[in-house]
């Protein structure tokens, strides 16, 4: 270890700094490039969302996106799901099907399902379940809503744009175009505001 450190210290400072900055630059460019690739190559879905515009200390103003598909009403799913063993933070896979232009949940499972043609499987995180105790008759199977997080829930914009998006969403639903990769990760590809689509670009 001492020899390694001595050899490292013997390397001129400029060489060390250049090597470090080179690696750092590749990493930072890679961040932007990988995200752009994910946007371009994934399966495209369009989801409705309800935005709010909070603020983050490190990354500034953004529109928090609350997708309608992130609340899954289990009795509506064609494929039954058993959430009794699920714990907050568990990985789930949500299968979505395009039904008349609306992407609708058809299955929710802790194991990745083989998707039918045209279906898209999105990676999600289990948050919690909401039982309707006291609302339905005791002893019967209670309908359950499952709350999940599919990610892609921050759209960063300057304060004025975030406010404008919020206003637009109050007029009608704001739609987000997502690109879903082979691993199920969803990234924001664009927005549809007032029927006009605005795609994210690299530059």
């Amino acid at each position: 270890m001492n020899a390694l450190l001595a050899r490292w210290r013997a390397t001129p400072l400029r060489t060390r700094a250049l090597a470090f900055l080179g690696v750092l630059t590749v990493y930072l460019l890679g961040m932007a490039g990988c995200e752009h690739m994910a946007r371009q190559t994934g399966a495209e879905i369009v989801l409705k969302t309800r935005p709010v515009d909070p603020r983050e200390i490190l990354r500034g103003a953004y529109v928090a996106l609350d997708y309608e598909v992130e609340r899954v009403h289990l009795p509506d799913l064609p494929t039954p799901a058993d959430p009794s063993d699920w714990k907050p933070g568990d990985r789930l896979y949500l299968t979505l099907r395009n039904e008349g232009g609306v992407w609708t949940p058809v299955a929710l499972s802790p194991r990745r399902q083989r998707a039918a043609a045209g279906d898209v499987v999105v990676r999600a995180t289990y948050l919690r379940r909401e039982d309707y105790a006291g609302v339905t008759e005791p002893g019967k199977n209670m309908p359950v809503d499952i709350l999940i997080d599919i990610g892609a829930d921050h759209y960063y914009a300057d304060k004025a744009r975030a406010k404008a998006l919020g206003e637009a969403a109050r007029q009608g639903p704001l739609e987000i175009v997502l690109s879903v990769g082979g691993d199920g990760r969803a990234v924001i590809k664009g927005l549809i505001v007032d029927g006009r689509r605005q795609d994210e670009t690299l530059f």
């Binding site: 450190l5 490292w8 210290r9 400072l13 400029r14 060390r16 700094a17 090597a19 470090f20 900055l21 690696v23 750092l24 630059t25 990493y27 930072l28 460019l29 961040m31 932007a32 995200e35 752009h36 603020r55 983050e56 200390i57 490190l58 990354r59 500034g60 103003a61 953004y62 714990k87 907050p88 933070g89 990610g151 892609a152 829930d153 921050h154 759209y155 960063y156 914009a157 300057d158 304060k159 004025a160 744009r161 990234v187 924001i188 994210e200 670009t201 690299l202 530059f203």
Partner: protein
Amino acid sequence: MKSAGAKRMRDGAYLKRLEADLARWTAAGRLSGEQSQALLADAHARAAKGQGSFANVAAAMGAVLFGLGLITFVAANWGELPKAARLGVSLLLPWLAFAAAVRAIERAAAGVGQAFALIGALSIGAAIAMIGQTYNIEGSAAGLFLVWSLAVLAASLVFSARPLLILFVILAFLYFVFDRPGDFFLAHGPSTRPSLSLFGAYYLALLFAGAFLARRWDSGAAMHLSGLSALVWTVLLFGDAIWLGRDRDWTAAGLMIAGAGALYAAAGEVFRARGERAGAIGLAWGAAAVLVGVIAAEFSLWEDKKVGVEMVFAAAVLGMTVWAINWGDAPGRRAVRGLAVALFAFECFYIYAALFQGLLDTSLFLLGGGALLIALASGWRWLTRKQKPLAPEAAP
């Protein structure tokens, strides 16, 4: 400025004490006049060097403010700029800051160079956040702090800069805090899911890297921050992670924390005995962990209302503090002594509040304990006087 003034006052008082001691040792024939002068000159030189470091401290503080300005600039959402310009600025900032650092260090302005390196390290965080914002990249705060801390670790190795090492230790700790599952025990109760991040397993590698470099570069601030981080990690490990949703037993948890602290202290003592400052600092933080563990266990016993166990425990703790106060009377062990005095004071309060809650019972317990200690002290003095007569030069 106030702290610099206070430091000058402390240095002045120390030099006066040293002058008096040196005169006494020279008069007793233990030092020659030349040796005495050389030691005094060295002490004066060290004090003067300490005063000169104000410029470095000011430069580092300025760098921190500048770096925070960069990060808040990002948070202001500079949406007017096109994406290419934002990406360019994100990449350019670290390059400019580190290039200035290299230039300053090559011109023998190490303090200014380290300040620029610190700006560069802070700008890495700003760059990651800016690119994340520009391209809507999803990510957790833990992920940001992990990548940032690793980059700052690399930068600190490149520049051998202590300020960067301190920043790395802080960022790594923030990664640990944000990487833990949401049921952080202070806010949400016991954990329910085992995971490596719950145990801080990944963080340990970063903690060791920081402590290793802090010892190697003799950075007191980084060593202390590593010690504090190790203390928090230990408390979370034994106080939260190992129970995994079962009912937490704070008596056991407190004893485990205290036991781990004793191990850290023992390891620190080994290095302290070799004359290493890192050892003394490790010893101090180990003793702090013992203090935290003992207090946690005692509060738990208090709630359980086990008076007999409490009395035995309190007596054992009092005995331990008396031993530690005596043992801590040596260079590099003063923090142990200070913590033992604090624990002694806490224990006296605890005995009244938790055990007896009545002045008469408390006074009897304390009178008995005090009389025992005085008897022990008298016996000890009698034994040592019998074995070793006073040296002639030490006699009044």
